[in-house]
Symmetry: C2
């Protein structure tokens, strides 16, 4: 049983369906969806990713719970410096987690199934570091950064104009509903996409 798991049963933290967190593995971080279904946690990872390679070798992930829009965009499009990580030994695990995020969960990660493209990973929390906080209202500015980010990863691969339109739609909402951090994150996203596909967005 995980340290802290009596205080925080998983369905008190994760919500049924897909939960977006920033996952770190060995000096690597990327936004990923953790699925809560039938009281079990799992995730689906592309085999070609660094995350998959690290999970297969090391058998752990750290799921960071954060609402920092800039961190979501940065970890989607670039590699963080090694100074962005804290190294720590927890039981048998030697982990790297994100220095700037105080809420995280170390999970044992086991391959349950494979296809030619993906691995299906079962997750089991082994250490929970969460600080209770007052509940926050829904923030469409932040939420629309997340939507835009997901579409941007696909746009970079396929250059579908429908995706570019959706990204613009979400970006306009971020400018209308967001605070300074959300607007900064959105501008960063436009810059990243333009660096791969010049001229897609006005910055």
């Amino acid at each position: 049983m995980a340290v802290g798991s009596r205080l925080y049963p998983i369905d008190n933290i994760f919500i049924e369906g897909i939960n977006e967190v920033i996952v770190s593995t060995c000096y690597n971080a990327a936004p990923m969806g953790i699925i809560l279904k039938n009281n079990s946690l799992s995730m689906i990872v592309f085999r070609t990713s660094h995350t998959a390679e690290n999970i297969i070798r090391d058998g752990w992930i750290v799921a960071h719970i954060t609402h920092d829009p800039v961190l979501f965009v940065r970890t989607t499009f670039e590699d963080l410096s090694s100074e962005s990580y804290v190294e720590e030994k927890i039981g048998e695990y030697h982990i790297q987690r994100l220095r700037s995020v105080q809420n995280w969960i170390l999970c044992k990660a086991q391959i349950l199934n494979k296809t030619s493209e993906k691995i299906f990973v079962g997750l089991e929390p082994v250490h929970i570091a969460l600080t209770p906080e007052p509940p926050h209202p829904v923030h469409r500015g932040f939420n629309n950064v997340i939507e835009a980010t997901v579409h941007a990863t696909r746009y970079i691969l396929y250059q579908d104009t429908k995706l570019a339109e959706l990204i613009r739609h979400h970006g306009d909402l971020v400018m209308r509903c967001g605070g300074e951090s959300e607007k900064r994150a959105m501008k960063l996203l436009y810059t990243f996409v333009n660096s791969k596909n010049p001229g897609t967005f006005f910055e």
Copy 2:
């Protein structure tokens, strides 16, 4: 100074930009955006709404912080029964708040400005009832219910096919990323829209 305001300064609860909450006034509840800007809270309300009428007469609102997708959809499209409210006397205020939401903030509401269409309302917390909880990850299922709901209120007014397309886009994501509550909320939304504009969505 509000009861609880030292524990919870407003920028610890609300985030810069627009914060979506469910606002109750006299036996009335509706999702609304509360703006945090320069450490002040405010909201913009259509003069023709019950909310505006009640604020002008009574001078208070209760902002409920919740992530219940079904409640967001229901309070957008229908009137809740009087049993849905708790009556309470807090200082000089006789309030009605939502029974099913444990996290709420009573605010004094003052008209700061008016146009022919809208009132601009300044908010000042006078009583804060918030229970700290573990932080929750981003949930695109829930977030897409909120996006769909906002577009649905406009679709009902203008029947713009672009809005119907956006609602379908968000609805598909809810079915992919959401849990049972989010899916139920989305089906309810389709039913409400179809009841006003028959045949818009397959249910």
